[in-house]
Point group: C2
Chain length 399, copies 2
């Protein structure tokens, strides 16, 4: 697992992958009538080069790519790299200045946007965020391999969860042991989220009634957290008998994240918990059969809601005191990518997209129940890559 300085700026083995991503971006630029894109966000830099660097990726509608780099040093002889200590120097290096320049308005701070507009003062600036989001949602074979490896490691971590538990533990203490296992299994720990208001540590573990604490974040579940500086997830309370523990911790490999939730029962729990948990499993299975290339994301949400209503559990669906407005989401380099499985989503599933489906129920006095899997959209179904037992598992009992 030891990583050292690589010889080429685009890492060995990534050349073809990057070339094909650049081609797709060039086509999108042509489609939007832009001459070039200037990318600055860490996610976009990684996506277009195979590494996070400090600087900019410049891509033309003709499919040329060049990296304007501030750091790291060490790539001075690479033909695709020019070192610049400020973006104002980039136009001087270009053969032809763009007339219409795409930048990412969703992520680029206003101050940087304004500065780059001045640096490219002859160009009209247009927002390429939506196009980039759609492109990035569809994962290549190589990306799918990285996601499968993340899923494999994710499963290996979760298989240890029941035996990490000790009677009298707090939710936070259990979460910390799972975090440690995820790190030992190769997670970098960082969970990248789209949107400034979103932030997450390594995931969320919700025990008992803390699952019903409303949170400010647009995640599926809440939780009070240990502090109002970061009010989400475990809150440090002791895990009680006859409650449930929902484990929704992230994993990543090569920058690609998988999402998976499993729920554990501490001793006996009321029948409604078993029923709601089984409903979540059933919804996952049904959406995996019905989801495929060409299906509207909102149809999948509607099916999940309908099955929930038929079971009489709508009051607990995606929260109780506060409800989340979706039942699934794309995932990859960020934990909340396209498509979104929500009532008014306009997304249509496409082969190669990767989505997490998480129908969950919050039951007052008991806790949260349900599962979440990560799926690859295939032509005729959704393929689950987080394969492990889905039942409401008895905490303490090994898998």
């Amino acid at each position: 697992m030891s990583n050292t300085h690589t010889e080429h700026f685009v890492p060995a083995g990534w050349e073809q992958e990057i070339a094909s991503r650049i081609d797709a971006i060039a086509q999108a630029l042509t489609h939007m009538g832009a001459d070039a894109a200037l990318l600055a966000d860490n996610i976009d830099l990684y996506y277009t080069s195979g590494r996070v660097f400090n600087g900019f990726t410049y891509i033309t509608a003709q499919g040329q790519v060049h990296y304007y780099v501030r750091r790291p040093l060490g790539y001075e002889n690479e033909p695709c790299v020019t070192y610049v200590h400020k973006p104002e120097l980039i136009p001087g290096h270009l053969e032809r200045l763009p007339h219409k320049l795409a930048m990412m308005a969703d992520t680029m701070p206003q101050a940087q946007w304004a500065r780059l507009r001045r640096a490219f003062d002859s160009a009209e600036a247009v927002d390429g965020s939506a196009a980039m989001r759609q492109l990035r949602a569809v994962k290549s074979g190589m990306e799918q391999q990285l996601l499968r490896e993340s899923a494999r490691r994710h499963v290996s971590v979760y298989k240890q969860v029941p035996t990490l538990y000790r009677s009298g533990m707090t939710d936070l203490e259990l979460e910390i042991e799972i975090e440690r296992q995820a790190r030992l299994a190769g997670s970098t720990g960082l969970v990248r989220c789209h949107g400034d208001a979103m932030e997450m540590f390594m995931g969320s573990l919700l025990a008992g009634d803390n699952a019903d604490e409303p949170s400010p974040y647009d995640f599926a579940m809440g939780g009070a957290g240990i502090n109002l500086s970061q009010p989400v997830g475990a809150n440090g309370s002791i895990i009680k008998l006859h409650t449930t523990i929902m484990v929704d911790m992230g994993m990543n490999y090569g920058g690609y994240m998988t999402d998976m939730t499993r729920t554990y029962a501490v001793g006996n729990v009321p029948d409604i918990a078993k029923k709601a948990h089984q409903l979540s499993v059933d919804i996952n299975h049904r959406l995996a059969r019905e989801g495929r290339h060409g299906v509207e994301a909102r149809e999948l949400y509607a099916t999940a809601l309908e099955m929930t209503q038929e079971a009489g559990l709508a009051d607990y669906f995606m929260g109780h005191r506060q409800h989340a407005g979706f039942v699934g989401h794309g995932i990859g380099l960020e934990t909340n990518e396209a498509p979104v499985l929500a009532p008014r989503s306009r997304d249509v599933l496409h082969t190669g997209q990767v989505i997490a489906i998480e129908p969950k129920y919050v039951l007052p006095g008991i806790g949260a129940v349900g599962i979440e899997n990560t799926y690859i959209v295939q032509p005729h179904c959704l393929e689950c890559i987080t394969t492990m037992p889905e039942e409401l598992h008895e905490m303490g009992k090994p898998y």
Copy 2:
């Protein structure tokens, strides 16, 4: 440590603190000729309310504050809170529309900035980032208390470092054990950074030659990391005899972070390592004596560089293959606040600012050495709050 839903939107005990912050912001607005500020970033929301929420803080130059909230639910009866599901509804709730509205161009994405400008279409939008950064740099008594508590816990974690080490461990395995201790000591884990290109997990542990790997981030030190998706810090290599291990892991309490570095020697290390480490200690002590209210930040940098040059160690100062351009930085809600101790910094130290000073040396074939402490700027000195032994400590030997 258990956290649950609090009754009031501004948490109990924070009322006076928040009121005085709002007053200071109102004064800054008056000074810049703005009628109001609209804040949207999680850090600014926490700073102006005592909680992270999804929504906006609206502050007038007359010192009135109101929170426009989307989530969490539960504060419907609070007089200072209005629920809005989109920002376009805010102007309809205002008695008087602003003519000049300050927003934070440093952090607000262009798309949101443009949307808010349309929502407040009669107002001129101005950038309040620099003023806010200056305000936030000076910590109140309450903030200093939170920082002192973070420092106390930080020290308790570091005291365990030497005994977490096992021969044959990788740098990453040691880092993971320290992360676990920091979490058990109450860290939320999240390290908030200013600037889109910056991101960090829980900190950095650099063993041996990995310290000399250039990183893209604007941190004091580099490291290859385990993957090019996040190329910084530990790289998974086995810790070797006769090398150094630099531990620079973050800690936080109540949202406030402290910074501290200590260095450990694995077996005997060459004299140059001991000399460079002692120089870092000496620089810290001298800057703590010479730093005070009114001193220019760049003077402190100049002193550190001068002492380094006199010792003949300039080649190794703040890196070797790649050098960082500063020797210290403000810290608080973010890990990189004002002031910056750099050659061309215009910052002047002010009583109540909190800064981390980290003169470090990267020695090829050995590793990184040096220490970092967090200090509160006092009228006549810098007060160290991360007080614990500073010498190059023998790894494995308890404190």
